[in-house]
């Protein structure tokens, strides 16, 4: 199976680089950008499977970035990752369609597990989309 493509978005450069390195060690195809704007540019050029997105960033915020991703219908799953537990931001993120909302410091095992789950969800959605109206309904 192809390695999972992950885009990490975080304006804390040191943290970003540490996470990218660790994910690569787990054989994920991970890249990092330091802003929401850069993330949107990147997604337009080369799609990924999963985005791991910081909430508090300078420039456009994590939530704004998430909103744009969903608005543009990029076929990705987004996992929010934040050092600040804010109930409001978390609920907003979930309502906007985030796959999950994790708090730093996140165990790398937990993060990888979530990324794998997110990719599986994406793969199945793509399959259903391909099958289109021929898909059997649940009822």
């Amino acid at each position: 199976m192809e390695p999972i493509k992950v885009l990490i978005v975080d304006d804390e450069v040191e943290f970003l680089e540490t996470v990218v390195k660790r994910l690569r060690k787990r054989n994920l195809d991970a890249t990092g950008v330091t802003s929401g704007e850069a993330a949107l540019d990147q997604l337009a050029k080369s799609p990924v499977d999963v985005v791991v997105l910081d909430v508090k960033m300078r420039g456009i915020s994590g939530l704004e970035t998430l909103r744009e991703i969903k608005r543009k219908h990029h076929p990705v799953e987004v996992i929010m990752l934040t050092g600040h537990a804010s109930m409001e931001a978390a609920m907003q993120g979930m309502a906007l369609g985030a796959f999950d909302y994790l708090m730093k410091p996140a165990q790398i095992d937990e993060l990888v597990g979530k990324i794998e789950d997110a990719r599986r969800t994406l793969t199945l959605a793509e399959k259903r989309h391909e099958l289109g109206p021929r898909a059997v309904s649940n009822s």
């Binding site: 600040h84 537990a85 978390a90 999950d100 909302y101 730093k104 969800t121 259903r128 059997v136 649940n138």
Partner: protein, 875 residues
């Protein structure tokens, strides 16, 4: 609920028997895979929520301090997990459970309000706080270190230096605006992979801090407090400026040696020393430490303690346990002449004393070569001074002092409920002063609940181990609950002993004195409830059922993790309820109020009409609801989806084609096959193979002999229902359809006049494992069909199934056991499937029922079960 007839008509028996197209089969597979994936995600979200509830409960009832940061983070995480569960359930069954969203929002908004209100800083916190007025509830204001010192002084009357804390508000004012912006800029523009880059960054930031002016108001307050201190302590006052960081969870981290303290500081150097301590937040090791843990720089506030300097004649540290060998509970004291810094830094060979507890006595003493000591310089600062030769090998402190230190440290340990690392000094008058105390980092994993040493006499212990799910001790007669039917006979005050900690035993908790479960975790539903009801509970205690004789009086020591014979007063009497450290604090109050919306479980009975979204009052209610409904939705796959022979493969067994058809939903075959048939050897589905083992274990002896008149009865019954008439062409032929993946199996089976459905999920993850079984019908008269169903249920009961009878139909369920146990259950089901067909014809009297039960159970125990014992023996 679709009627059994509707369901029957759907089971692959369309009149025209069309094949599903290739695409439709693919679509069916995708639907299954999606549902299965969603089901597992939901279980994960639920489990996460339950773990968090356990954590919150632990914090609430424990002795470890916590701050708003913890409460906020956990409540947010719990809400996110529960929201995920609600979302996924609605994906599994669109439109059916949308009311849950409203229930969730109502609960979440109340929790959010509680958290927001407590979290909001009032802006009126003091900049400077007297040390002796602090306690543990103020760690957000003064940092953990200083809050701890204030706490032991206030609550235990232990001597600590006089002084004041320069608070987190002061820190934020100092950093606020330009300084923080500049630091952020410096941090962004570096790449801390190279160590020398980190050093460079650190130097730049620390320098920046040193040259920044302290705000005027703050400086005034610092000097005012210093002046007051001087008035009390005397003109020659020197102070120690100590770091005390906020925003780090000290129960899990060790910040030992990360930051700077400055000793023996005079009034003129107060501000310089203050800035030096703050600058130490950006030491290279501190920067790396935060990076590695993903802690945001701006989440760490550096408070500074300004404390009267103790001109120590001797000093050192006390560990209330061996820091190397955590199980050694003796007190370890290290001491030397002069300031304790020499011991803390490890720069001097110190004296070591090992003190045993109860009674307190010195067991070992080693005197180090104390060549030098650290002393306060006459002016400011500290310096090393040579120790006279004659004194080097003499003990640095008297034995009476050793014992006093041990006793003091034990008091601190008892207060916090965990091992302590205590820094101390003996002043010129010979009085002990405590300078610092913090949790001692012990080797090995940190347990959810600190296991207390078992106080029971070893000879009386019947079973020991497991995990403390709910603290306390209790006494009562053992009651081993194996089957649902035994619930009604559970006596009040008994000790409930079960294999699995299933939520449906919850109704018994109010009457139980204690709970023991062989399986399960401290984060499960039942464990949460045991804590709520304050019922002492141990889970994961393997072999408990074998070792605890029903009816025997036992004492359960949940803290010590053991069950003892008889009534042991020492365990039961005088159990002091641990004082809640955070009593009276706004943080604890916020936690309590938030938890009212999180942990209580109101939805107990899935069959009750109140088991509905509108009755959910707490997050726990929602998780319970989601769990039950997810199982229902997942395991109606067979009912909702169907296919015919032409879309599937016919099963071939030993070269013979069987009346069984198999559809591979995912990874149910070892290898893909072309053509019409699939051999049994090619089946990879664990549950299907288990069922098949039972189906083929004992050849069916054919229908029971009809008694005179039975045939007429059957014909009469058939006449009432034309579809049942054997001579008419009927869509109801014998049909058995498997839909499988490696871990999933759905069997729709029809033999003659009766119909059954089995759905199962079996994997190595016990908490995901389920078997659902439904059964109905028959050719005989109604009362005989009812007897047959009762027969089936009584056998299933023996094997741990939970069943419900409605007239002549039954649904039964088993869940949450390990793979081997589930396989065994499925094998029994497979056997029953075959050997109870047409048995209704014979069920003329209850006595015949009992005979057949005996016969079937004998078959099971002599043919089926030995295979499992053989397998176990070969492992």
């Amino acid at each position: 609920m679709p009627s059994i007839k509707d369901w029957l008509q759907n089971v692959g028996l369309r009149k025209k028997e069309e094949a599903l197209s290739g695409d439709a089969v693919e679509a069916l597979r995708t639907t299954f895979q999606t549902r299965y994936h969603s089901f597992k995600l939901l279980l994960n979200a639920n489990n996460k929520a339950l773990e968090i509830m356990a954590e919150l409960e632990e914090a609430r009832s424990g002795n470890k301090p916590f701050g708003m940061f913890f409460v906020n983070a956990r409540c947010t995480a719990a809400c996110v997990s529960v929201y995920r569960a609600v979302e996924i359930l609605n994906e599994l069954a669109p439109e059916k459970y949308s009311a849950l969203y409203e229930s969730f929002r109502s609960i979440e908004s109340k929790i959010g309000e509680i958290i927001r209100f407590a979290w909001r800083p009032t802006g009126s916190e003091p900049r400077v706080v007297p040390l002796r007025s602090l306690d543990i509830t103020q760690s957000n204001l003064a940092g953990n270190k200083l809050a701890n010192l204030g706490e032991i002084h206030k609550r235990l009357g232990i001597p600590v230096p006089n002084g004041f804390a320069i608070s987190s508000r002061a820190f934020q004012e100092f950093m606020g605006g330009d300084l923080q912006v500049e630091i952020d800029r410096l941090m962004q523009s570096s790449s801390p992979e190279e160590m020398d880059e980190v050093f460079l960054l650190s130097t730049r930031i620390q320098q920046q801090i040193r040259v920044t002016k302290v705000p005027e108001e703050l400086e005034k307050e610092i000097f005012a407090a210093y002046g007051e201190l001087k008035a009390g302590e005397g003109e020659g006052l020197r102070v120690a400026m100590r770091s005390s960081a906020v925003g780090e969870d000290s129960s899990r981290t060790s910040c030992a040696g990360l930051y700077h303290s400055e000793l023996n500081v005079g009034g003129d150097n107060l501000i310089r020393a203050f800035k030096e301590v703050i600058a130490s937040k950006y030491r290279p090791e501190a920067i790396m430490y935060r990076i590695n843990r993903g802690i945001r720089d701006e989440d760490v506030d550096m408070c500074v303690g300004c404390m009267s300097m103790v001109n120590a004649a001797a000093g050192g540290v006390v560990y209330t346990r061996s820091p190397v060998e955590g199980s050694d509970g003796r007190i370890f004291i290290h001491s030397t002449y002069g300031l304790p810094k020499a011991v803390v830094d490890g720069s001097v060979e110190s004296d070591t004393w090992v003190v045993a507890r109860s009674p307190l006595r010195i067991e070992e003493r080693h005197f180090g070569q104390k060549r030098e000591k650290i002393v306060c310089d006459a002016e400011e600062g500290i310096r090393q001074k040579k120790v006279p030769e004659k004194d080097r090998l003499l003990p640095s402190i008297a034995e009476a002092t050793v014992l006093k230190l041990a006793a003091t440290a034990i008091r601190i340990e008892e207060h916090y409920g965990c091992a302590q690392d205590v820094e101390w000094a003996v002043d010129e008058k010979g009085e002990i002063v405590i300078l610092q105390c913090r949790p001692l980092r012990l080797p090995g994993a940190v347990e959810l609940h600190m296991r207390q040493p078992a106080k029971a006499p070893a000879s009386s212990i019947l079973a020991a181990g497991g995990v403390t799910a709910s603290p306390g001790a209790a006494c009562g007669p053992v009651f081993v609950l194996r089957k649902d039917s035994e619930i009604l006979s559970f006596p009040k005050g008994a000790v409930l002993v079960v294999k699995q900690a299933l939520p449906r035993w919850a109704t018994l908790l109010a009457r139980a004195s204690a709970l023991i479960a062989e399986q399960g975790s401290a984060a499960g539903h039942l464990a949460n409830l045991a804590r709520e009801f304050s019922v002492p509970a141990i889970v994961g205690l393997e072999g408990a059922i074998d070792r605890l004789e029903p009816g025997r009086l036992v004492t359960v020591d949940a803290d010590g993790g053991c069950v003892c014979a008889g009534r042991i007063e020492a365990l039961l009497a005088g159990r002091e309820k641990s004082r809640q450290l955070m009593e009276g604090s706004p943080v604890l109050d916020a936690l309590n109020r938030a938890m009212e919306r999180i942990t209580p479980l109101n939805l107990l009975d899935p069959q009750a009409p109140e088991f509905s979204p509108s009755s959910c009052r707490t997050l726990h209610d929602i998780t319970r609801f989601c769990h039950e409904k997810a199982v229902l939705e997942m395991f109606s796959f067979g009912k909702d989806h169907h296919f015919s022979e032409k879309s599937s493969k016919q099963l071939m067994c030993d070269g013979v084609s069987m009346q069984w058809w198999v559809l591979n939903l995912d990874d149910g075959f070892k290898e893909e096959v072309a053509g019409k048939f699939v051999t049994l050897e090619n089946i990879a589905s664990i549950p299907m193979l288990a069922l098949w083992e039972g189906i083929t274990a004992v050849p069916w002896a054919g229908p029971p002999a009809l008694e005179p008149g039975s045939l007429v009865a059957i014909m009469l019954e058939s006449a009432r229902d034309p579809a049942m008439e054997p001579s008419l062409p009927s869509p109801y032929k014998n049909r058995n359809f498997f839909m499988i993946s490696k871990n999933f199996c759905s069997l729709a089976s029809r033999f003659g006049y009766h119909l059954s459905g089995i759905e199962a999920l079996v994997s190595e993850r016990a908490n995901e494992n389920y078997v659902n079984f439904s059964f109905q019908g028959g050719a005989a008269m109604y009362d005989r069909r009812v007897r047959r169903v009762q027969l089936v249920v009584s056998i299933l009961d023996e094997f741990g199934f939970h069943s419900e009878i409605r007239g002549d139909s039954v649904t039964a369920r088993a869940e949450g056991e390990d793979e081997e146990a589930m396989i065994q259950k499925l094998t029994v089901l497979g056997y029953l499937l075959i050997h109870t067909r047409q048995l209704d014809i014979a069920m003329t009297h209850d006595a015949i029922c009992a005979e057949w039960k005996q016969k079937l159970l004998t078959d099971i125990s002599t043919v089926l079960l030995p295979k499992f014992q053989d397998r176990a023996a070969h492992i």
